[in-house]
Symmetry: C2
DNA sequence: ACAAAAGTGTTGAGAGTACACCCATGC
DNA sequence: GCATGGGTGTACTCTCAACACTTTTGT
């Protein structure tokens, strides 16, 4: 098997790249890290790295995520494998892209003592990205927008207890689309996967909102019906 | 980078495996090849092989397909990447799985002078498969069943001109489900992607059926509405 | 004339969509 | 008492789903 230009890899190298989404301040954001090695040194890139010899590709993605974030138990889903020979100038690197969803509050609590420089960027205003990472983000967003309609992935972006307005907000942010409040609530409650608690969330001088919890194990695949309800 | 047990691979090897579907005699079938090397020598497996150093992963899948079938211009779609360390006993082989669809008549015309032993098997009655190939087939079928509802992939299984009954038949075979003729026809024609020709297909002593052609470039993503209409 | 598949409409049920006002709280 | 987001119901439209008979051909 051949050697790449700088001799670092023999044969193929397999990398994982993870698009980690969160919602903060009403905006959908993705985590980027600043590259410390060439190529694209100093450029922003997706968190990721080379898959170890004895770990599964999924495990490598989880590991990268944990190195960057210190959060466990993250929703992670494989996206697509990008295998163009020229995508990495160092040689043949095939990347398996993933996307992941975290709740911002959980993240804020745990993420400290960082090694590499990392930051959240609004998905709509990303800086130029290294490699083909821009394409990966676009692909991830597309998948998320699609999947939110027939699964409950959106719940992964929320805390354990949330108000229906918060849930609706996460749909709106992901879809870049206003939804109708009454229809959204009816549809969500009809699904039978939400349980109203007896707690309320007071935020200032308004009427407090009821908190709900999600009743199912993790992510539910709904009956392919779709949740989009335009405003 | 480490070496695998038999020294054949350095670092990771990347393979592609392709689930090639066709419909023949009212049955959904997949192409399998008989392995000539260990491991699993003599077992049936998906067509596939190692990705070359300077070819893209997609190209490798196409190449494998053409080696096995002699057909060009096949509908091919990446499925998923399987990256468990133990999936191949020779060492670390990560496989990128694809599925592909061909029309049986075209295949029959071109496929000759085969190198490896290969055969079509009904997807519902596959022999034991090498590696984790059974899982890949299951995954491919699931994807196909899902995708047939909001895209026009099913057309890839038919000749250029086809009757509505043949089209319905391909949906039924893929979904393992009878569909209602009137509803199916109305829905298909409403989509505006079919053009009736002035030709008819006569088969014996029944009324001849009108032949239709598909008007769009290749595969159309429909409005996420779904085509399933139970019988 | 009959066997076999082609072809064709209507109706009822349920989901989707549009839309506007009162409620509870903090200040 | 007022500003702010929380919360609720109804009518119309349209798609989905169920269902059976006539037509055309070859033998």
């Amino acid at each position: 098997m051949p050697t790449s230009s700088n001799g670092q890899f023999r044969g193929h190298a397999i990398a994982v790249d993870v698009v980690l989404f969160t919602i903060q301040g009403g905006t959908l954001k993705a985590l980027l890290v600043k590259r410390r090695q060439p190529p694209h040194r100093g450029a922003w890139a997706l968190p990721g790295g080379i898959v170890g010899t004895d770990e599964s590709v999924d495990d490598a993605a989880l590991r990268e995520l944990q190195e960057e974030t210190n959060i466990g138990n993250i929703y992670l889903e494989q996206l697509y494998t990008f295998g163009e020979p020229a995508r990495d100038p160092r040689g043949r690197v095939i990347t398996v892209a993933y996307y992941a969803l975290v709740n911002w509050q959980q993240f804020q609590l745990k993420a400290r003592q960082r090694v590499t420089e990392a930051d959240w960027f609004p998905v709509k205003r990303l800086p130029p990205l290294a490699f083909d990472h821009r394409r990966i983000v676009d692909y991830a967003l597309e998948r998320l927008q699609h999947k939110i309609n027939y699964t409950t992935v959106a719940f992964q972006l929320l805390p354990r207890q949330f108000t229906l307005t918060e849930l609706q907000g996460s749909y709106e942010v992901i879809l870049s689309q206003r939804l109708d409040k009454r229809n959204f609530r009816r549809k969500m409650l009809q699904l039978g996967i939400l349980k109203g608690t007896r707690e309320f969330k007071a935020h200032g001088r308004q009427r407090p909102a009821r908190l709900y919890t999600f009743t199912e194990p993790k992510v539910v695949k709904l009956q392919e019906k779709g949740i989009i309800v335009p405003f």
